[in-house]
Amino acid sequence: MNDIRLPLGDWADAVIHFITDVFGGFFAVVRSVFAGFYDLVDVVLQTPPFWVVILALAAIAWFAKGWKLATGTALGLLVIVGVDQWDNAMSTLALVLVASLIAVAISVPLGVLAARSDLASKVIRPILDFMQTMPAMVYLIPALILFRVGVVPGIVATIIFAMAPGVRLTELGIRGVDKEVVEAGQAFGSSPWRILRQIQLPLAMPSIMAGVNQVIMLSLSMVVIAGMVGAGGLGGEVVQSLTRIDVGLGFEAGLSVVILAIILDRVTGALGTPRKPRGRDKQAPTTDASEPLGPEAERLPAASATA
């Protein structure tokens, strides 16, 4: 039976070694850029006293949706302070923000490309499938080799894992823009770039923002795995509690992750939906679909709090 074994693993190994040998310098640059970026965000979040950060985040929530979300945000963050996970939470937040930003910066242009070219779409789709379904920990192995232990392999693995919905929903959003409206742009002599900027991107925005939201949520779900390669933060705590079978620590760190997740989801979700009182029927279907989810998801934190 083992006679016909495919040496796929050996090949992957060889490829990674080849890459390290040839592009080592390149990866060193990427490493320092990502690390620098992360440090910057981390410093911004860690330096001020916790209540300043809480006020700032609550203000963003208030701007995005309203006072209810602002209050919820502030209370949730106070709970994190209360269980003494503040520093870890901020490290995690920095990691999530950096990874999400980079993932969005890569995935939206890719989505635009896929929407404009059927060939690109056909090439990109299986790659995304691969990236999304391959067990996330597997990315850590080459990432570790290429970027060494620390926060950077965590960021890279997170980006790869979280990118897919950004690409997919951007493509879907742009392809879903009313064909006649795009034709109108062409018929009046607008250039393709201008049509993209003035018609396709604004009209696809609800879908793109749903993609951004998904990217952030997936990034957060990678936090624990990133903790395994020394990214620290809440993920590190969870990994530690696992090795020590420490239920208390695990719960506190886990709850902190949940709180961060809910805040990030609500804020980015609110940013994606236009704040107009009545949008009427011309809204993109994605926003309509997210509507019924709202109250359902709202009940979740209450349920977990009582548990």
Binding site: E180, V181, E183, A184, A187, F188, G189, S191, L203, K282
Partner: protein
């Protein structure tokens, strides 16, 4: 325009030559087979031949309607006219510039300057205000903000949306949204307007209103309009000329009247069956030669004799230059003759219906109901062109032969027996008037001949397809 001003002024707004559009693989092979006479069905395995050998010119300032059912290729055709689709074969020339095979950059330039479009589902930018939508074409043209605001506001006023500029499209009804679509196209100030089923998504009342407004705007602004529709009534109402499409081919091209009265094949004939003929045919299309006509100067005896000969109770009376003065009835004239009056003047009444040559039949019914006299058809100067008796009106609606001259009921039946008239004429005849009678008779003949001339001239004008000056 600056390159060849002379030829540009003379060339048609659009010229389409052997235009074929095939969707599918192997367009070359499909093209060869189409040219060899293959039908659409035979090519189905290869793809769809949406437009096959379309060949026509659109004159400047006309409304050119392309009419066909869904799937007949009309939407594809209109999209090749501004280069949204590249034809598989053949060429399109817009205002003297051949756009087929043109670079995308130049093509965009042609669209900006010469050809704008109105869409079936409005295709407004939902995230922009009504004013910004109306100014979109100008924005693309690079017109400064203040100027485009001014022009867009002006056009919005013109289409009846003054004061709505700050609203969002979603706050407007369908009819109003399409007015914005129309305003956007008009504001760009292009020579040609393409309208792709522009009114099909609107409800019937609004639609009628928009059609009327479009005709009005067209006459005012003199735009060339290519209008696509699947509604024959709409086509007939709007179109100076109509191209009927079926299975990708243009099966007939002509004026509304030509298509209605002389359909090219069974398909078109079947199609026009359901048309509301009364809204298409005009008085000028169906009128009869006015046989019962006398000149005012001919006198009562001539009038009476003419009525006797035609066995009718009335004749039209025309003055100098064939201006219609009114009608006289046999009883009144008989009385004049008995009294020995020399002038027809006292008997002329003007309580008879008069209609213009370009009034639609639907507008004639009321007059026809109110008076049993034939409707007098006059031109702009009030000259008598012809008459529309009720029978003719009915015949035209029923698509019976439009020449009803042989029907006995064509003239209003005489109310006085022939022998009474003859007797009266004899009794009142004097030696000197016998000569005058002869002169009268020739005056009548001359009047009839002249009428025929004017009618012929009017028909010639119609055939030339000119719009009567507003």
């Amino acid at each position: 325009m600056s390159e060849t001003p002379v030829s540009a002024a003379e060339s048609p707004a659009l010229s389409v030559r052997r235009l074929t559009k095939f969707f599918g693989r192997k367009p070359k092979e499909a093209l060869d087979r189409l040219r060899a006479g293959a039908g659409r069905a035979e090519l189905a395995p290869l793809g769809t031949a949406a437009v096959i050998d379309a060949d026509f010119d659109v004159r400047r300032g006309e409304i050119f309607v392309v009419m066909g059912l869904s799937g007949s290729g009309k939407s594809t055709l209109i999209r090749t006219l501004n280069g949204l689709l590249e034809p598989t074969d053949g060429s399109v020339t817009v205002m003297g510039e051949t756009i087929t095979g043109m670079s995308p950059k130049r093509l965009r330039e042609v669209r900006r300057r010469h050809i704008s479009m109105v869409f079936q589902h409005f295709a407004l930018l939902p995230h922009r205000s009504v004013l910004e939508n109306a100014a979109y074409g100008l924005e693309i043209q690079g017109v400064p903000a203040a100027e485009r605001r001014r022009r867009a506001e002006h056009i919005l006023d013109r289409v009846g949306l003054g004061g709505w500029g700050d609203k969002m499209p979603s706050e407007l009804s369908g009819g109003m949204q399409q007015r914005v679509g129309l305003a956007r196209a008009l504001a760009s100030d292009t020579d040609i307007l393409l309208m792709d089923e522009a009114f099909s998504a609107l409800d019937p009342l609004i639609r009628k209103e928009m059609q009327e407004q479009l005709v009005e705007l067209q006459q005012e602004l003199g735009k060339t309009i290519v209008f696509i529709t699947h509604d024959l009534n709409e086509a007939m109402f709007l179109g100076d000329r109509i191209a009927v499409m079926r299975d990708g081919r243009i099966v007939q091209l002509g004026t509304a009247e030509e298509i209605l009265t002389d359909p090219a094949d069974d398909y078109v004939a079947q199609f026009v069956q359901d048309v509301d003929r009364s809204r298409v045919l005009t008085a000028g299309n169906v009128m009869e030669a006015p046989r019962a006509v006398v000149t005012a100067s001919a006198g009562p005896r001539a009038a009476l004799r003419s009525m006797r000969d035609l066995q009718t109770s009335m004749v039209f009376v025309v003055g100098g230059g064939r201006r219609l003065l009114g009608v006289v009835h046999d009883r009144d004239v008989l009385r004049l003759v008995q009294r020995g009056e020399r002038s027809l003047e006292p008997a002329i009444s003007d309580d008879h219906p008069v209609v213009g040559a370009d009034e639609h039949l639907s507008e004639l019914f009321e007059s026809a109901v109110e008076s049993q006299l034939p409707l007098a058809v006059v031109d702009d100067q009030g000259r008598l062109l012809g008459a529309v008796p009720r029978v003719t009106l009915l015949a035209a609606l029923g698509n019976v032969s439009s020449n009803t001259g042989e029907h006995a009921v064509i003239e209003t039946p005489a109310t006085i027996p022939v022998d009474v008239i003859t007797a009266t004429l004899h009794r009142t005849a004097r030696p000197d008037t016998a000569i005058a009678d002869a002169a009268d008779a020739s005056a009548v003949a001359a009047a009839v001949a002249e009428a025929a001339d004017i009618r012929a001239e009017a028909m010639h004008r119609d055939a030339a397809g000119e719009r009567s000056p507003a």
